[in-house]
Symmetry: D2
Subunit: 349 residues, 4 copies
C-alpha cells in the first residue's frame, strides 16, 4: 500500500520501452536531434500555439529556471506559502536566480488568495530600492495539497499580474493531474488564462526523468539556453528525455495515467469518507489525499503495511484539531492499483 | 561514418534494458532505494575504499559541483587552458561555485605542465586579498584532446597540490577510456596518486545519462547534498541513474565498451598514419583522434558522409602548419563499428 | 522638526574634524595603517576581549557579510519579520551570502518570541535536503521599532542557538542607543549573553560612514577578508573609517551622542503621552518613537514643518485601530535639539 | 619617499574641509539631497551631456557593478590581461555580476591590441551555448602600468564593440591623470569615442572615498539602483561622497591634483633616465613609473627610505632582462613633493 509519493513509482513500461527503441543510432546531441525537434513540435500542438520548450532534469530545475528567466536584482516572486518552491527546494530557486527572493502569500486550501496577493504586491512600488522589485508570480497546479485553481482563479491572478506587469508562472509538476480533473485543454489551463511560463512535469506521472520548461511566448526565452547551461541542465544525450515524452504523449498516455492516478485518489477518499477513524482535511481534486487521523491510528496503519508521510505542516490551516491527531499526505500514481487502495480501505473501515 | 562525438551515440542495449527491468515497483525516492545503495557500494568496490558517491545529470554538473565542494570566496581552480571546464561549460563552474574562477595553465598535448602549474600557484600567496585564494586543481583524464596523464604525472601534480594544501579533482568524463588505455585500476588512477574527487562519467561510454561525483574521502562530502540540491541536480527517481550504472558495471561492460571505443580510435589512427593527405596532430591514447588535413580534403570527406567537427583551437600548440589546413576532432564510441572506420580509411587512402 | 531618520543628520563636528586631522601623510592602505590598528585595538578594549574587526561601508554590508560568514548551501537565517535584513535591504543579504534565505519569525514589539523561534527551527532537522539548513539567528538591538531585547532575552535566544549549534548575530545599527538605554557594557550586551557577531554601526549615531563587523571569536573570521573583498567593501583609504571611529570612541563621544538621541526620543514620547490627538503605539526604549494619529493630524503636522515617515507596516501588531489612522516613525539623533522636539510638542498639545 | 601607491596618501585638505562644511543640518538620505543632485548635475556638465551617476564606495565596486549592469548568463567581458579587474579584485567582478567571466586579452604596454581583441571575440559566436556569450569590453584609462590609450585607440575598440553589439566600459580609477595627460575633455575621452560606462575614480586623486559609476546613456542604468543595493553600496549619508566631489570639481581641483601627480611622475622618470643603475621599463604617461633595477639596488633604495612595491608581473612583456633584476612600480599622487622625488633622484644618481 504505497502512498508515500508519486515519485516512488518507477516508469511506465511504455516510457521505458521508448528508451530501448530510441537507444540505437547516431544523432546530434544537446537537443538538436530529429526526435528532440519532433517532441518540441508536439508541445506546440498540445498547447495550440508556437511555444519554446526546454528539457531539464528535475522539477526544481524547471521552477528555478523559470524564476531565473524573469529575475531582476532585488527581485521577488510571489507564491503560496506552502508552494514547493518555498518549502521543498532548499534554496535552489534563490540560488539559480542569483539571489532573488520568494515572498509567501497565504490563502485557503493551498491557493493564493487574490486579495492577499494584491496586499502583498501593494508595498512593492516601482523604484523602492529598500523593499526590492516584484518580478513574478507563481502558482502550483495542482497545488501542493492536491487542490486546484479553477480557470477563473487563474484568470483573476493573471489579470492582477498584468496590472503590475509581472509574468505568471505555473508549477505544473502535476500538470496532467490538474488537467484531467478540470477536463479542459492545456491551452485553456495556461495561456488562455494568462499563464506565461509552465514547468511541465512528466516524472511524477510515469516518466523516469522528463521535465520541460515551456514559454508560451518564445520571445520570453531569449537567452534562456545560457541560463539552462549555467546550471548544468543541458543534457548531451537529450533524446533520452525526448524519447520519454514521445511515449508520454503517444496515444494520450499522459492523460490516461493522470486519470488513473486521480481515480485512485478519489477511491481512496471514498474509503476515508466512509471511515469513522479518519476524515479528509479537504476535498482532493487531483492525486493527493490528506486525511486527519489519530496518531495511534497512523501508527497502526503503518504497521499494517501502509506507506505514507506526515504532511510537513501539521497545523496547516487549522485542519488538525486535537493534540493527538496527525495530518497525512497520501499520493497515488499511475502505478497505484485499486486493490491496494481497497486493502487500505479495509484497514480503516 | 559518425565521429562527431561520443554523445551522438545513444545508449548501449544493456543500459536501456536495465531501465526496463527496474521500471516497476515502489521504492524510496531521492537516492535512498536499495538499488541506489547497491550501486554506491559497487563504487566503493571499484575504488577499493569507502567513497561518497552522488549521482548527477551532466558532466558539467559533476565538474561544477566538484569545484563548489571546495570553493572559497575569491577562489581559483587551476586547470589546463583547453579543459572542458574552461572552454565548454559556459560559465557553469563559475556560477555553481558562486563566482569562483578558473585559472588556465598551459602544457603540451593537453596536459598541464608541472612547472607552469607551479608558476601559476606561486603568486597566489595565502592571505593575498587582491589576487584571491587558490582553492583546487583539476585535471582531465583522458584529456580534451585524447591524451593521458601517466600515473607519475598525476602523482607529481598531487604532490604539488599537497604542498599548497589544495584538493585535486579529476574530470573523468572519459574515465573508462583512460583506465583501459593505462591498464591500471581505478584506485591506481585516482587516490593512490592523490586524486581527491572524481567526476565519473558514464554518459559518453554507453549510458543515457549517468554521471557521478565521487569523493575519495567521504569527509570531503559533508554538506554536499545541499550543494547538489542548490543546483537542482537531486533526482527524485534516482534509481534511473542507478539502474544505468548497475548495467554499466555488470560483467565489466564499462571496460569492454571503453576498450572498444579506444580500439576504434587506434584503428582510425592507423588509417590516418597510412594516409598521405592527413597526419595526426598528436598520438591518440583514448577515443579521440585529431587529424590535420587540407581544408579541401575535410570538405570532400564530409561530402562523402564522414561526420566530424573542427577542433575549436585550430592553431592549438602550433600543430596546424599551413593556412589551408584544418584540425579535426574525431571521436569514437561504444557504437562505432570497424566497418565505418574502414570506410573512412578507404576515403583517405 | 526633523524626525525622518537618524541618517538625515550629517556628521558630528568632532567626526568631521578627525577626518581633517588625519588627512595628511602617507600610510599603508587597505586597513594596515597604525590608525586602523589602533582603532581595532580600541574595539578589543571596548568589548573586553580579543575581537576581529572589519570596517565596511554600510549597515547592509555589515549585516549581509555577517550572514555570508556563516552561510551554508540551502541555508536559512532566522530573524524577526520586521528586521531590516528582511524589509529594507532588497535582497542584498541573500545575494551576498550566495543565495541563503531569511526565515521570518514573529514576536511582539519587534522582538522574536523565543517559542516562535523554537517552532521555526524545529522542522529544519539536520540533513533535511528539501527544507535546507539552519545557518544562524539574527537579532536587532535596538529593534527596528525602537524597543530592546533585555539581556536575559538575548541569553535565552543564544541558549537556543547553542542547542542547534547556530551562531547568533546582532544587527547593531543602533548599538549605542541600546547600550546606553540598558546601561550595561558592550561585553554584557553581546558575548556575555552569547552573541557571536555584531554589526556595529556608527553612521546613524554621528559618523559619516563608519560601520564595522565584529567577530567575538576571531576564529570565526577566518577567510573573511576574501568575503569582504568579494563584495567590494575593502576600502583603500581605510583610515577614513578609522579616523571616524577614533573620534567616535574618544572621550566617550559615542555614548554621549546616543544618550542625547535617546533623551530626545523620551522627550518626544512625553509630549505624545500628554497629547490627546496622538498615542504611542508602544513604549520607546531607544531613539525611535512610533505614534498613532489620525491621518488628518499627520497631514497637518507635516504642513506645519514636521518631517517624518509613515511606518512601512501600518497594521503592525494590530496597533493601528481605526481606518483613518496612520502609524508614524519618528527618529531622533545626535543632532536633534530639545527646541525642535518642544516645537513639535506644542503642535500636538 | 612614498611611492607605494596613490592610495597611501590621505585626502586633500579641501576635500576634508568640504566634509566639515557639509556636516551640519538635516537632508534626505540615500542620494536624494540637494547636494547629491547638484553633484550629479556637475557630472552632466563635465561630460557635456545628460548622464546617469551613481556613487559607490570603491573602485572595485564601480568596476564590478559596471559589469553587472550588462551581465548575461554565461557572459564574458574582454579586458587586458593585466587589468585591475582580473588581477586585483579577487573575484569581486565575477561574484557581483553573478558568475560572469573575464577573458584576458594581450597587448603591448598594458593596452589591448585591437587584433587580439578581434581574435578573442571571433569564436564567441551568438548562440554558442558552450563557450558562452560576449557581454562587454573594458579598458583601463590610464592603464594599470601608467600608459594611455590614445583617443583613436579608444575609437577603434569601440567600433569593434559596435560590430559585436557590446558596451564599452572604461575603468577610470585614474581618469583625471589620463585626462590631463591627453589634454582633452572628459567627453572627448569617453562618449565621443564610443565609451558607454565609466568608473570615475576620485579616491586615488585626493578624495577619501569617492567613486562614481557614470552611464553615458541613462537608459543603460535602468534597474541599476537595485544592482547597487544588492551589493550594499547604497550609502545612507550619501552626501559624504557628494561633499567630496563638490570640492573635487570646485575650481578645477581635480585637474590640478592630477596634473601635479603626473608632473611628479615625469620628474621621477627624468631622474631614472639620468641614472645608470635604473632604466624605465616603458614611458610613463600618467602618475606611475616602472623602473627596472638590480635587486640589490632595490634593497638599498628601500633601506634608504624609499617605499615602493615590486610589480606583480616581473616578467611582464619581457621587460626585465636579467635574473638579478626586479621591476618596481612607483606611484605619485597629489601629495608627492618635488623634494621627495629629488631625494630619490639623488639616491640613484
Amino acid at each position: 500500500m504505497h502512498f508515500a509519493s508519486d515519485n516512488w513509482a518507477g516508469a511506465h513500461p511504455k516510457i521505458a520501452e521508448s528508451l530501448v527503441k530510441n537507444a540505437g543510432g547516431f544523432v546530434p546531441a544537446y537537443g538538436s536531434s530529429a526526435l528532440d525537434k519532433a517532441v518540441e513540435q508536439t508541445f506546440c500542438e498540445i498547447f495550440e500555439r508556437e511555444v519554446a520548450v526546454f528539457f531539464v532534469g528535475t522539477g526544481t530545475a524547471a521552477n528555478s529556471l523559470a524564476l531565473a528567466s524573469f529575475a531582476r536584482p532585488g527581485g521577488m516572486t510571489f507564491t503560496h506559502r506552502e508552494a514547493h518552491l518555498i518549502g521543498d527546494e532548499a534554496g535552489a530557486p534563490e540560488f539559480i536566480s542569483a539571489g532573488a527572493r520568494l515572498r509567501p502569500v497565504d490563502g485557503p486550501t493551498g491557493r493564493m488568495d487574490l486579495n492577499n496577493l494584491r496586499s502583498a504586491l501593494e508595498p512593492v512600488t516601482p523604484g523602492n530600492v529598500f523593499i526590492g522589485q516584484a518580478m513574478g508570480v507563481s502558482i502550483t497546479q495542482a497545488t501542493e495539497i492536491g487542490t486546484l485553481y479553477e480557470l477563473a482563479d487563474i484568470a483573476a491572478i493573471s489579470a492582477l499580474c498584468r496590472e503590475h506587469d509581472l509574468p505568471l508562472h505555473m508549477d505544473g509538476a502535476r500538470f496532467a493531474n490538474a488537467l484531467v480533473s478540470l477536463g479542459c485543454s492545456p491551452a485553456d489551463m495556461t495561456w488562455r488564462q494568462g499563464v506565461d511560463i509552465v514547468s511541465f512535469g512528466g516524472t511524477k506521472n510515469g516518466c523516469w526523468c522528463a521535465e520541460a520548461l515551456v514559454f508560451m511566448d518564445p520571445a520570453r526565452a531569449e537567452g534562456f539556453p545560457f541560463l539552462r547551461k549555467r546550471v548544468a541542465q543541458h543534457f548531451s544525450k537529450s533524446r533520452f528525455i525526448a524519447a520519454q515524452f514521445e511515449a508520454y504523449f503517444g496515444e494520450g498516455l499522459w492523460l490516461e495515467l493522470a486519470a488513473h492516478a486521480n481515480a485512485m485518489s478519489a477511491r481512496l477518499a471514498g474509503h476515508i469518507r466512509a471511515s469513522k477513524q479518519l476524515r479528509l482535511a479537504w476535498e482532493p481534486r487531483a492525486n493527493e489525499v490528506f486525511p486527519v487521523m489519530p496518531k495511534e491510528t497512523a501508527a497502526k496503519l503503518r504497521e499494517a503495511g501502509a506507506v505514507f508521510h506526515n504532511w510537513r505542516a501539521p497545523h496547516f490551516e487549522g485542519r488538525v484539531a486535537a493534540e493527538g491527531e496527525s495530518l497525512a499526505r497520501m499520493v497515488t500514481s499511475f502505478a497505484t492499483t485499486p486493490d491496494e487502495v481497497d486493502r487500505f480501505g479495509a484497514l480503516i473501515a
